[in-house]
Amino acid sequence: GAGVSQSPRYKVAKRGQDVALRCDPISGHVSLFWYQQALGQGPEFLTYFQNEAQLDKSGLPSDRFFAERPEGSVSTLKIQRTQQEDSAVYLCASSGRTNTEAFFGQGTRLTVV
């Protein structure tokens, strides 16, 4: 596609509900990143994939967060038993090589009520 696509754009979840957020990176991009952006803050790193391999998940805040990229393209970020503190914008980015320009999607705004 022309850019990084994320869905849904908005998600409202009841506390305790599981959610799944999807990222379609730019075709052919090897690297894929997930970031969490709280209101008024800069994005914070969650996890990184190189192709299908999850090379770094050090930013995932708890074991309720899980990400996968089984075929090295589309990625899903899953949050189990959502809590209010999970409310944020979740951004996906992809790049052709590590450490070069990363292109961001528009994000998914998650609100946990």
Binding site: Y35, G40, G42, P43, D56, T98, F104
Partner: protein, 113 residues
């Protein structure tokens, strides 16, 4: 002038003025720096980058300055336009090997017609 809002420092300028947005980075090992622009409801958009072997780089209407001695970056926008109104983030990275972007806090730029 520049003021500190509830969440983000804010820079208010008049259309046609030159704007300077500053950023202090944290990691002495960082050797690659990027400025991103984020409009409301959108993901961060790449503006310009600079590698640590340079101290200045110019783009279209934008210039990035890097001072490694004091770990300081600045973004200069010439002839600021209302469409430049957004939140601006600096991000640092290491170009060699694997690492991920670390974003600064962000500065909101408000341009009045």
């Amino acid at each position: 002038g520049e003021s500190v809002g509830l969440h983000l420092p804010t820079l208010s300028v008049q259309e046609g003025d030159n704007s300077i947005i500053n950023c202090a980075y944290s990691n002495s090992a960082s050797d690659y720096f990027i400025w991103y622009k984020q409009e409301s409801g959108k993901g961060p958009q790449f503006i310009i980058d600079i590698r640590s072997n340079m101290d200045k780089r110019q783009g279209q209407r934008v210039t990035v300055l890097l001072n490694k001695t004091v770990k300081h970056l600045s973004l200069q926008i010439a002839a600021t336009q209302p469409g430049d109104s957004a939140v601006y983030f600096c991000a640092e990275n290491r170009e060699s090997g694997y690492s991920t972007l670390t974003f600064g806090k962000g500065t909101m730029l408000l341009v009045s017609p």
